[in-house]
Symmetry: C2
Subunit: 244 residues, 2 copies
DNA sequence: CGCTAGCTTGACACAGGTCAAAGGCTGTGG
DNA sequence: CCACAGCCTTTGACCTGTGTCAAGCTAGCG
Protein backbone atom coordinates (compact mmCIF):
# COMPACT_ATOMS: atom_id res chain seq x y z
CA UNK A 1 0.00 0.00 0.00
CA UNK A 2 2.98 2.28 0.49
CA UNK A 3 4.09 1.54 -3.05
CA UNK A 4 2.22 4.57 -4.41
CA UNK A 5 4.20 6.89 -2.16
CA UNK A 6 7.43 5.24 -3.19
CA UNK A 7 6.61 5.54 -6.87
CA UNK A 8 5.66 9.17 -6.63
CA UNK A 9 8.65 10.33 -4.61
CA UNK A 10 11.03 8.13 -6.54
CA UNK A 11 9.84 9.72 -9.76
CA UNK A 12 10.59 13.16 -8.36
CA UNK A 13 14.07 12.10 -7.35
CA UNK A 14 15.49 8.61 -6.82
CA UNK A 15 15.12 7.47 -3.23
CA UNK A 16 18.01 6.01 -1.27
CA UNK A 17 17.57 2.51 0.18
CA UNK A 18 17.25 4.03 3.64
CA UNK A 19 14.52 6.37 2.50
CA UNK A 20 12.72 3.55 0.72
CA UNK A 21 12.77 1.61 3.95
CA UNK A 22 11.30 4.50 5.90
CA UNK A 23 8.49 4.78 3.40
CA UNK A 24 7.71 1.13 3.69
CA UNK A 25 7.48 1.67 7.44
CA UNK A 26 4.60 4.06 6.76
CA UNK A 27 2.38 1.04 6.37
CA UNK A 28 2.67 0.26 10.07
CA UNK A 29 0.64 3.13 11.40
CA UNK A 30 -2.42 3.90 9.33
CA UNK A 31 -5.29 6.26 9.88
CA UNK A 32 -8.62 5.96 8.11
CA UNK A 33 -11.09 8.67 7.16
CA UNK A 34 -14.62 8.46 5.81
CA UNK A 35 -15.84 10.34 2.73
CA UNK A 36 -16.48 13.95 3.67
CA UNK A 37 -14.10 13.90 6.62
CA UNK A 38 -11.85 16.90 7.02
CA UNK A 39 -8.24 15.81 6.85
CA UNK A 40 -6.85 19.24 7.51
CA UNK A 41 -8.79 22.25 8.67
CA UNK A 42 -8.76 25.94 7.87
CA UNK A 43 -5.30 26.80 9.02
CA UNK A 44 -3.84 23.76 10.68
CA UNK A 45 -0.20 23.73 9.81
CA UNK A 46 0.86 20.15 9.37
CA UNK A 47 3.93 19.42 11.41
CA UNK A 48 5.01 16.36 9.47
CA UNK A 49 4.59 15.04 5.96
CA UNK A 50 1.39 13.01 5.69
CA UNK A 51 0.56 10.83 2.71
CA UNK A 52 -2.58 9.41 1.20
CA UNK A 53 -2.09 5.67 0.79
CA UNK A 54 -5.52 4.99 -0.67
CA UNK A 55 -8.59 6.95 -1.65
CA UNK A 56 -9.08 10.41 -3.12
CA UNK A 57 -9.34 13.82 -1.43
CA UNK A 58 -9.30 17.49 -2.38
CA UNK A 59 -8.15 20.88 -1.17
CA UNK A 60 -10.94 23.39 -1.21
CA UNK A 61 -12.36 26.63 0.10
CA UNK A 62 -15.97 27.58 0.76
CA UNK A 63 -17.41 31.02 0.13
CA UNK A 64 -19.84 32.49 2.66
CA UNK A 65 -22.81 31.90 0.36
CA UNK A 66 -22.01 28.23 -0.15
CA UNK A 67 -20.12 28.35 -3.41
CA UNK A 68 -17.19 25.96 -3.35
CA UNK A 69 -13.90 26.05 -5.21
CA UNK A 70 -11.63 23.02 -5.29
CA UNK A 71 -7.95 23.85 -5.66
CA UNK A 72 -6.65 20.39 -6.34
CA UNK A 73 -7.53 16.73 -6.37
CA UNK A 74 -5.41 14.47 -4.19
CA UNK A 75 -4.81 10.87 -5.23
CA UNK A 76 -2.95 8.02 -3.53
CA UNK A 77 0.71 8.88 -3.02
CA UNK A 78 0.03 12.59 -2.67
CA UNK A 79 1.09 14.53 0.39
CA UNK A 80 -1.59 16.29 2.43
CA UNK A 81 -1.01 19.95 3.20
CA UNK A 82 1.97 20.71 1.01
CA UNK A 83 4.38 20.08 3.85
CA UNK A 84 4.78 23.80 3.55
CA UNK A 85 5.00 25.32 6.98
CA UNK A 86 3.54 25.97 10.37
CA UNK A 87 2.06 29.31 9.32
CA UNK A 88 -1.48 29.26 7.99
CA UNK A 89 -1.45 32.57 6.05
CA UNK A 90 -4.27 31.43 3.79
CA UNK A 91 -7.37 29.39 4.45
CA UNK A 92 -7.92 26.09 2.68
CA UNK A 93 -9.06 22.75 3.97
CA UNK A 94 -8.43 19.22 2.81
CA UNK A 95 -11.45 16.94 2.61
CA UNK A 96 -11.79 13.24 1.83
CA UNK A 97 -13.81 12.49 -1.29
CA UNK A 98 -13.81 8.72 -0.78
CA UNK A 99 -12.73 6.50 2.05
CA UNK A 100 -9.10 7.44 2.65
CA UNK A 101 -6.09 5.84 4.34
CA UNK A 102 -3.39 8.14 5.67
CA UNK A 103 0.09 7.65 7.08
CA UNK A 104 2.45 10.15 8.67
CA UNK A 105 6.24 10.14 8.56
CA UNK A 106 7.94 9.78 11.93
CA UNK A 107 10.80 12.16 12.74
CA UNK A 108 14.22 10.59 12.36
CA UNK A 109 15.43 9.27 15.68
CA UNK A 110 18.56 10.98 16.93
CA UNK A 111 17.55 14.50 15.99
CA UNK A 112 14.84 14.85 18.56
CA UNK A 113 16.49 17.59 20.59
CA UNK A 114 15.15 20.94 19.45
CA UNK A 115 18.54 22.54 18.87
CA UNK A 116 18.93 25.71 16.90
CA UNK A 117 19.63 23.79 13.74
CA UNK A 118 16.51 21.64 13.85
CA UNK A 119 14.13 24.23 15.24
CA UNK A 120 11.74 25.94 12.92
CA UNK A 121 11.70 23.38 10.20
CA UNK A 122 15.47 23.44 10.06
CA UNK A 123 17.61 20.87 8.36
CA UNK A 124 15.16 18.12 7.57
CA UNK A 125 14.11 16.11 10.61
CA UNK A 126 12.40 13.57 8.32
CA UNK A 127 15.03 12.90 5.70
CA UNK A 128 12.83 13.86 2.75
CA UNK A 129 13.62 17.56 2.36
CA UNK A 130 14.47 17.40 -1.33
CA UNK A 131 11.50 15.26 -2.16
CA UNK A 132 9.06 17.43 -0.30
CA UNK A 133 10.49 20.49 -2.00
CA UNK A 134 10.14 18.92 -5.43
CA UNK A 135 6.67 17.76 -4.52
CA UNK A 136 5.81 21.33 -3.64
CA UNK A 137 7.10 22.51 -7.00
CA UNK A 138 5.02 19.92 -8.79
CA UNK A 139 1.94 21.05 -6.90
CA UNK A 140 2.65 24.67 -7.70
CA UNK A 141 2.80 23.70 -11.34
CA UNK A 142 -0.58 22.04 -11.02
CA UNK A 143 -1.96 25.22 -9.45
CA UNK A 144 -0.68 27.27 -12.37
CA UNK A 145 -2.25 24.87 -14.86
CA UNK A 146 -5.47 25.16 -12.93
CA UNK A 147 -5.37 28.96 -13.10
CA UNK A 148 -4.99 28.82 -16.87
CA UNK A 149 -7.89 26.39 -17.12
CA UNK A 150 -10.16 28.58 -15.05
CA UNK A 151 -9.10 31.89 -16.50
CA UNK A 152 -8.64 31.26 -20.19
CA UNK A 153 -10.07 27.91 -21.27
CA UNK A 154 -13.57 26.88 -22.30
CA UNK A 155 -15.50 24.19 -20.46
CA UNK A 156 -14.61 21.73 -23.20
CA UNK A 157 -10.90 22.50 -22.99
CA UNK A 158 -10.88 22.49 -19.18
CA UNK A 159 -12.47 19.10 -18.97
CA UNK A 160 -10.09 17.56 -21.49
CA UNK A 161 -7.16 19.11 -19.65
CA UNK A 162 -8.27 17.74 -16.31
CA UNK A 163 -8.70 14.22 -17.65
CA UNK A 164 -5.20 14.28 -19.11
CA UNK A 165 -3.76 15.60 -15.86
CA UNK A 166 -5.41 12.89 -13.82
CA UNK A 167 -4.28 10.26 -16.29
CA UNK A 168 -0.71 11.44 -16.07
CA UNK A 169 -0.70 11.54 -12.28
CA UNK A 170 -2.35 8.16 -11.96
CA UNK A 171 0.10 6.64 -14.43
CA UNK A 172 2.94 7.98 -12.28
CA UNK A 173 1.79 5.83 -9.37
CA UNK A 174 0.90 2.86 -11.55
CA UNK A 175 -2.84 3.35 -11.33
CA UNK A 176 -3.59 4.08 -14.96
CA UNK A 177 -3.49 2.00 -18.07
CA UNK A 178 -2.35 3.25 -21.45
CA UNK A 179 -5.65 5.05 -21.96
CA UNK A 180 -7.96 4.14 -19.10
CA UNK A 181 -8.26 4.82 -15.39
CA UNK A 182 -10.71 4.88 -12.50
CA UNK A 183 -11.97 8.25 -11.31
CA UNK A 184 -14.18 8.12 -8.21
CA UNK A 185 -15.47 11.68 -8.57
CA UNK A 186 -19.04 12.87 -8.87
CA UNK A 187 -19.91 15.46 -11.48
CA UNK A 188 -20.52 17.87 -8.61
CA UNK A 189 -16.87 17.57 -7.58
CA UNK A 190 -15.75 18.05 -11.17
CA UNK A 191 -17.95 21.13 -11.36
CA UNK A 192 -16.52 22.67 -8.20
CA UNK A 193 -13.03 21.95 -9.46
CA UNK A 194 -13.52 23.22 -13.00
CA UNK A 195 -15.47 26.31 -11.98
CA UNK A 196 -18.60 25.14 -13.80
CA UNK A 197 -22.14 24.12 -12.89
CA UNK A 198 -23.00 20.46 -12.49
CA UNK A 199 -25.33 20.60 -15.45
CA UNK A 200 -22.71 22.06 -17.70
CA UNK A 201 -20.11 19.50 -16.66
CA UNK A 202 -22.58 16.84 -17.68
CA UNK A 203 -23.23 18.45 -21.04
CA UNK A 204 -19.50 18.89 -21.66
CA UNK A 205 -18.81 15.24 -20.92
CA UNK A 206 -21.62 14.29 -23.32
CA UNK A 207 -20.01 16.44 -25.97
CA UNK A 208 -16.60 14.83 -25.47
CA UNK A 209 -18.32 11.47 -25.77
CA UNK A 210 -20.17 12.44 -28.91
CA UNK A 211 -16.89 13.64 -30.40
CA UNK A 212 -15.46 10.18 -29.73
CA UNK A 213 -12.69 11.57 -27.54
CA UNK A 214 -13.61 9.81 -24.30
CA UNK A 215 -15.81 7.12 -22.82
CA UNK A 216 -17.12 7.40 -19.28
CA UNK A 217 -19.36 5.03 -17.40
CA UNK A 218 -19.53 5.29 -13.67
CA UNK A 219 -16.01 5.88 -12.48
CA UNK A 220 -14.40 4.16 -15.45
CA UNK A 221 -12.73 6.55 -17.90
CA UNK A 222 -11.30 5.76 -21.33
CA UNK A 223 -9.34 8.36 -23.25
CA UNK A 224 -10.09 7.40 -26.84
CA UNK A 225 -7.84 9.94 -28.52
CA UNK A 226 -5.16 11.32 -26.25
CA UNK A 227 -3.40 13.14 -29.08
CA UNK A 228 -6.52 15.07 -29.96
CA UNK A 229 -7.32 15.76 -26.31
CA UNK A 230 -3.80 17.07 -25.82
CA UNK A 231 -4.09 19.47 -28.74
CA UNK A 232 -7.52 20.69 -27.72
CA UNK A 233 -6.54 21.45 -24.15
CA UNK A 234 -2.91 22.45 -24.78
CA UNK A 235 -1.90 19.90 -22.18
CA UNK A 236 1.75 19.74 -21.24
CA UNK A 237 2.78 17.12 -18.71
CA UNK A 238 5.10 18.30 -15.93
CA UNK A 239 8.82 17.85 -16.55
CA UNK A 240 10.20 15.85 -13.66
CA UNK A 241 13.85 15.27 -14.44
CA UNK A 242 16.09 18.07 -15.62
CA UNK A 243 17.00 16.66 -19.04
CA UNK A 244 20.74 16.67 -18.64
CA UNK B 1 15.25 51.88 -2.69
CA UNK B 2 15.91 48.64 -0.84
CA UNK B 3 13.46 49.72 1.84
CA UNK B 4 10.58 47.92 0.12
CA UNK B 5 12.41 44.61 0.33
CA UNK B 6 13.22 45.22 3.96
CA UNK B 7 9.62 46.07 4.80
CA UNK B 8 8.24 43.05 3.05
CA UNK B 9 10.62 40.49 4.50
CA UNK B 10 10.54 42.10 7.92
CA UNK B 11 6.77 41.78 7.94
CA UNK B 12 7.05 38.08 7.20
CA UNK B 13 9.51 37.60 10.02
CA UNK B 14 11.69 40.16 11.82
CA UNK B 15 15.09 40.52 10.16
CA UNK B 16 18.31 40.39 12.14
CA UNK B 17 20.65 43.41 11.91
CA UNK B 18 22.99 41.33 9.77
CA UNK B 19 20.24 40.44 7.38
CA UNK B 20 19.05 44.02 7.22
CA UNK B 21 22.55 45.05 6.29
CA UNK B 22 22.73 42.49 3.51
CA UNK B 23 19.47 43.78 2.12
CA UNK B 24 20.74 47.31 2.12
CA UNK B 25 23.72 46.03 0.17
CA UNK B 26 21.29 45.03 -2.58
CA UNK B 27 21.25 48.66 -3.66
CA UNK B 28 24.84 48.41 -4.84
CA UNK B 29 24.28 46.21 -7.86
CA UNK B 30 21.15 47.05 -9.77
CA UNK B 31 19.79 45.79 -13.06
CA UNK B 32 17.20 47.62 -15.11
CA UNK B 33 14.57 46.22 -17.45
CA UNK B 34 12.23 47.97 -19.87
CA UNK B 35 8.47 47.37 -20.03
CA UNK B 36 7.78 44.11 -21.82
CA UNK B 37 11.21 42.65 -21.03
CA UNK B 38 11.30 39.06 -19.92
CA UNK B 39 12.79 38.83 -16.45
CA UNK B 40 12.66 35.06 -16.31
CA UNK B 41 11.93 32.77 -19.21
CA UNK B 42 9.97 29.58 -19.64
CA UNK B 43 11.89 27.33 -17.33
CA UNK B 44 14.91 29.24 -16.12
CA UNK B 45 15.42 28.18 -12.55
CA UNK B 46 16.65 31.16 -10.61
CA UNK B 47 19.76 30.28 -8.70
CA UNK B 48 19.52 33.11 -6.20
CA UNK B 49 16.78 35.24 -4.71
CA UNK B 50 16.14 38.26 -6.93
CA UNK B 51 14.00 41.21 -5.86
CA UNK B 52 12.09 43.92 -7.61
CA UNK B 53 13.22 47.25 -6.16
CA UNK B 54 10.99 49.41 -8.34
CA UNK B 55 8.38 48.91 -11.03
CA UNK B 56 5.71 46.26 -11.61
CA UNK B 57 5.91 42.88 -13.33
CA UNK B 58 3.81 39.74 -13.72
CA UNK B 59 4.08 35.98 -14.02
CA UNK B 60 2.20 34.70 -17.00
CA UNK B 61 1.70 31.94 -19.53
CA UNK B 62 0.69 32.20 -23.17
CA UNK B 63 -1.57 29.71 -24.92
CA UNK B 64 -0.73 28.64 -28.48
CA UNK B 65 -3.56 30.75 -29.91
CA UNK B 66 -2.43 33.92 -28.17
CA UNK B 67 -4.65 33.88 -25.13
CA UNK B 68 -2.73 35.03 -22.07
CA UNK B 69 -3.25 34.21 -18.40
CA UNK B 70 -1.48 36.19 -15.73
CA UNK B 71 -0.80 34.23 -12.54
CA UNK B 72 0.26 37.07 -10.33
CA UNK B 73 1.21 40.72 -10.26
CA UNK B 74 4.65 41.53 -8.85
CA UNK B 75 5.21 44.82 -7.08
CA UNK B 76 8.33 46.39 -5.54
CA UNK B 77 9.74 44.22 -2.77
CA UNK B 78 8.53 41.00 -4.36
CA UNK B 79 10.87 38.17 -5.22
CA UNK B 80 11.09 37.06 -8.83
CA UNK B 81 10.67 33.36 -9.49
CA UNK B 82 9.57 32.10 -6.11
CA UNK B 83 13.11 31.20 -5.14
CA UNK B 84 11.69 27.74 -5.45
CA UNK B 85 14.18 25.53 -7.18
CA UNK B 86 16.39 24.71 -10.08
CA UNK B 87 13.80 22.42 -11.67
CA UNK B 88 11.39 24.00 -14.13
CA UNK B 89 8.57 21.41 -13.97
CA UNK B 90 6.05 23.93 -15.18
CA UNK B 91 6.26 26.72 -17.70
CA UNK B 92 5.68 30.31 -16.68
CA UNK B 93 7.57 33.44 -17.49
CA UNK B 94 8.02 36.70 -15.63
CA UNK B 95 7.60 39.87 -17.65
CA UNK B 96 8.10 43.54 -16.77
CA UNK B 97 4.93 45.62 -16.98
CA UNK B 98 6.69 48.93 -16.35
CA UNK B 99 10.32 49.93 -16.15
CA UNK B 100 11.77 47.66 -13.46
CA UNK B 101 14.83 47.70 -11.23
CA UNK B 102 16.14 44.37 -9.98
CA UNK B 103 18.76 43.27 -7.46
CA UNK B 104 20.09 39.83 -6.65
CA UNK B 105 21.31 38.54 -3.31
CA UNK B 106 24.98 37.51 -3.22
CA UNK B 107 25.84 34.18 -1.62
CA UNK B 108 27.26 34.50 1.87
CA UNK B 109 31.04 34.53 1.76
CA UNK B 110 32.61 31.58 3.50
CA UNK B 111 30.18 28.99 2.24
CA UNK B 112 31.28 29.10 -1.33
CA UNK B 113 32.72 25.60 -1.45
CA UNK B 114 30.10 23.28 -2.90
CA UNK B 115 30.25 20.75 -0.11
CA UNK B 116 27.62 18.11 0.39
CA UNK B 117 25.76 20.28 2.85
CA UNK B 118 25.46 23.32 0.60
CA UNK B 119 24.93 21.46 -2.65
CA UNK B 120 21.48 21.27 -4.06
CA UNK B 121 20.01 24.23 -2.30
CA UNK B 122 21.17 22.90 1.02
CA UNK B 123 21.34 24.87 4.24
CA UNK B 124 20.74 28.39 3.09
CA UNK B 125 23.73 29.90 1.29
CA UNK B 126 22.06 33.33 1.40
CA UNK B 127 20.90 33.61 4.95
CA UNK B 128 17.22 34.14 4.12
CA UNK B 129 15.88 30.61 4.14
CA UNK B 130 13.02 31.27 6.55
CA UNK B 131 12.00 34.45 4.81
CA UNK B 132 12.02 32.90 1.37
CA UNK B 133 9.98 30.00 2.67
CA UNK B 134 7.42 32.32 4.21
CA UNK B 135 7.40 34.39 1.06
CA UNK B 136 6.62 31.24 -0.88
CA UNK B 137 3.73 30.47 1.45
CA UNK B 138 2.36 33.96 1.01
CA UNK B 139 2.54 33.59 -2.75
CA UNK B 140 0.83 30.24 -2.60
CA UNK B 141 -1.97 31.87 -0.66
CA UNK B 142 -2.28 34.49 -3.37
CA UNK B 143 -2.50 31.74 -5.98
CA UNK B 144 -5.31 30.08 -4.05
CA UNK B 145 -7.18 33.38 -3.77
CA UNK B 146 -6.72 33.79 -7.49
CA UNK B 147 -8.17 30.36 -8.19
CA UNK B 148 -11.27 31.20 -6.18
CA UNK B 149 -11.66 34.48 -8.05
CA UNK B 150 -11.40 32.82 -11.43
CA UNK B 151 -13.44 29.76 -10.60
CA UNK B 152 -16.28 31.00 -8.45
CA UNK B 153 -16.54 34.80 -8.46
CA UNK B 154 -18.28 37.18 -10.83
CA UNK B 155 -16.41 39.88 -12.71
CA UNK B 156 -17.64 42.43 -10.17
CA UNK B 157 -16.43 40.38 -7.22
CA UNK B 158 -13.11 39.53 -8.86
CA UNK B 159 -12.31 43.12 -9.57
CA UNK B 160 -13.12 44.26 -6.05
CA UNK B 161 -11.04 41.41 -4.65
CA UNK B 162 -8.04 42.30 -6.77
CA UNK B 163 -8.13 45.94 -5.76
CA UNK B 164 -8.20 45.00 -2.08
CA UNK B 165 -5.34 42.56 -2.56
CA UNK B 166 -3.19 45.14 -4.27
CA UNK B 167 -4.03 47.70 -1.62
CA UNK B 168 -2.99 45.31 1.13
CA UNK B 169 0.26 44.37 -0.55
CA UNK B 170 1.16 47.95 -1.35
CA UNK B 171 0.38 49.03 2.20
CA UNK B 172 2.77 46.34 3.44
CA UNK B 173 5.65 48.04 1.64
CA UNK B 174 4.51 51.54 2.48
CA UNK B 175 3.21 52.35 -0.97
CA UNK B 176 -0.46 52.78 -0.18
CA UNK B 177 -2.43 55.32 1.73
CA UNK B 178 -5.42 54.55 3.91
CA UNK B 179 -7.62 54.19 0.86
CA UNK B 180 -5.61 55.16 -2.20
CA UNK B 181 -2.73 53.82 -4.23
CA UNK B 182 -1.09 53.98 -7.65
CA UNK B 183 -1.67 51.09 -10.03
CA UNK B 184 0.31 51.29 -13.28
CA UNK B 185 -1.70 48.58 -15.06
CA UNK B 186 -3.62 48.81 -18.31
CA UNK B 187 -7.10 47.35 -18.51
CA UNK B 188 -5.67 44.72 -20.84
CA UNK B 189 -3.39 43.49 -18.05
CA UNK B 190 -6.28 43.48 -15.61
CA UNK B 191 -8.29 41.48 -18.14
CA UNK B 192 -5.59 38.86 -18.62
CA UNK B 193 -5.21 38.59 -14.87
CA UNK B 194 -8.90 38.39 -14.03
CA UNK B 195 -9.76 36.04 -16.87
CA UNK B 196 -12.04 38.60 -18.53
CA UNK B 197 -12.14 40.55 -21.78
CA UNK B 198 -10.82 44.09 -21.89
CA UNK B 199 -14.25 45.44 -22.65
CA UNK B 200 -15.79 43.70 -19.70
CA UNK B 201 -13.10 44.90 -17.31
CA UNK B 202 -13.92 48.41 -18.42
CA UNK B 203 -17.66 47.93 -17.86
CA UNK B 204 -17.01 46.37 -14.45
CA UNK B 205 -14.86 49.28 -13.35
CA UNK B 206 -17.59 51.66 -14.52
CA UNK B 207 -20.08 49.75 -12.45
CA UNK B 208 -17.90 49.90 -9.34
CA UNK B 209 -17.58 53.63 -9.94
CA UNK B 210 -21.30 54.13 -10.40
CA UNK B 211 -21.87 52.21 -7.16
CA UNK B 212 -19.58 54.70 -5.44
CA UNK B 213 -17.20 51.98 -4.31
CA UNK B 214 -14.09 53.16 -6.11
CA UNK B 215 -12.63 56.03 -8.08
CA UNK B 216 -10.11 55.45 -10.83
CA UNK B 217 -8.42 57.96 -13.06
CA UNK B 218 -5.32 56.94 -14.90
CA UNK B 219 -3.25 54.93 -12.49
CA UNK B 220 -4.69 56.60 -9.41
CA UNK B 221 -7.07 54.39 -7.42
CA UNK B 222 -9.27 55.36 -4.49
CA UNK B 223 -11.19 52.75 -2.52
CA UNK B 224 -14.23 54.70 -1.39
CA UNK B 225 -15.80 51.98 0.73
CA UNK B 226 -13.38 49.29 1.76
CA UNK B 227 -15.87 47.64 4.11
CA UNK B 228 -18.38 47.18 1.34
CA UNK B 229 -15.73 46.00 -1.11
CA UNK B 230 -14.54 43.48 1.45
CA UNK B 231 -18.01 42.05 1.91
CA UNK B 232 -18.75 41.91 -1.79
CA UNK B 233 -15.56 40.07 -2.66
CA UNK B 234 -15.20 38.04 0.54
CA UNK B 235 -11.69 39.44 0.85
CA UNK B 236 -9.55 38.08 3.65
CA UNK B 237 -6.07 39.54 4.04
CA UNK B 238 -3.26 37.03 4.58
CA UNK B 239 -2.34 36.29 8.19
CA UNK B 240 1.34 36.99 8.57
CA UNK B 241 2.16 36.40 12.22
CA UNK B 242 0.94 33.35 14.08
CA UNK B 243 -1.25 35.06 16.67
CA UNK B 244 0.33 33.62 19.78
C1' DC C 1 0.15 68.14 -35.16
C1' DG C 2 -0.71 63.68 -36.55
C1' DC C 3 -0.08 58.78 -34.42
C1' DT C 4 -0.58 55.39 -31.46
C1' DA C 5 -1.93 53.19 -27.20
C1' DG C 6 -5.32 53.01 -24.16
C1' DC C 7 -10.13 54.01 -22.69
C1' DT C 8 -15.22 54.07 -23.49
C1' DT C 9 -19.65 52.82 -25.43
C1' DG C 10 -23.31 50.39 -28.07
C1' DA C 11 -25.33 46.39 -30.50
C1' DC C 12 -25.40 41.81 -30.75
C1' DA C 13 -23.93 36.75 -30.02
C1' DC C 14 -23.05 32.82 -27.31
C1' DA C 15 -21.11 30.04 -23.46
C1' DG C 16 -22.55 28.68 -19.51
C1' DG C 17 -25.96 29.16 -15.47
C1' DT C 18 -30.55 28.22 -13.49
C1' DC C 19 -34.73 25.83 -12.87
C1' DA C 20 -37.32 21.81 -13.19
C1' DA C 21 -38.30 17.15 -13.86
C1' DA C 22 -37.40 12.50 -15.08
C1' DG C 23 -34.52 8.44 -15.00
C1' DG C 24 -31.05 5.34 -13.28
C1' DC C 25 -28.43 3.07 -9.49
C1' DT C 26 -27.55 1.18 -4.97
C1' DG C 27 -28.11 0.06 -0.40
C1' DT C 28 -31.08 -0.94 3.37
C1' DG C 29 -34.83 -2.55 5.93
C1' DG C 30 -39.16 -4.85 6.12
C1' DC D 1 -36.67 -10.37 -2.55
C1' DC D 2 -39.06 -6.39 -3.11
C1' DA D 3 -39.84 -1.47 -2.18
C1' DC D 4 -38.50 2.57 -0.87
C1' DA D 5 -35.10 6.48 -0.24
C1' DG D 6 -31.29 9.09 -1.71
C1' DC D 7 -27.85 10.23 -4.49
C1' DC D 8 -26.25 10.79 -8.97
C1' DT D 9 -26.91 11.50 -13.85
C1' DT D 10 -29.34 13.21 -17.80
C1' DT D 11 -32.30 16.26 -20.55
C1' DG D 12 -35.06 20.34 -21.95
C1' DA D 13 -36.39 25.26 -21.76
C1' DC D 14 -35.05 29.49 -20.76
C1' DC D 15 -32.09 33.31 -18.88
C1' DT D 16 -27.89 36.16 -18.14
C1' DG D 17 -23.08 37.25 -17.66
C1' DT D 18 -19.54 37.89 -20.46
C1' DG D 19 -17.37 37.93 -25.13
C1' DT D 20 -17.03 39.92 -29.78
C1' DC D 21 -17.16 43.39 -33.12
C1' DA D 22 -16.99 47.98 -34.34
C1' DA D 23 -16.63 52.65 -33.78
C1' DG D 24 -15.38 56.90 -31.35
C1' DC D 25 -12.77 59.26 -28.06
C1' DT D 26 -8.80 60.94 -25.37
C1' DA D 27 -4.18 61.99 -24.30
C1' DG D 28 0.61 61.61 -24.37
C1' DC D 29 4.52 61.83 -27.52
C1' DG D 30 7.63 62.14 -31.30
Amino acid sequence: MTAVVFKRLNALKPLSPGQAQRIEALGERLEAAAPGAMLQGEGDGLIRPTFILSGWACRQRLLPDGRRQIFGILIPGDAVGFCSDPSPISSASTVALTKVTLATVEPLSGVSSPSASTANGGPDPWGFADHMRLSGCLEEGLLLDHIVRLGRQTAYERTAHLLLELHWRLALIGRADERTFTMPLTQEVLADFLGLSIVHVNRTLQQLRRDRLIEISGSHVVLLDMAQLTVISDYQPPILAPES
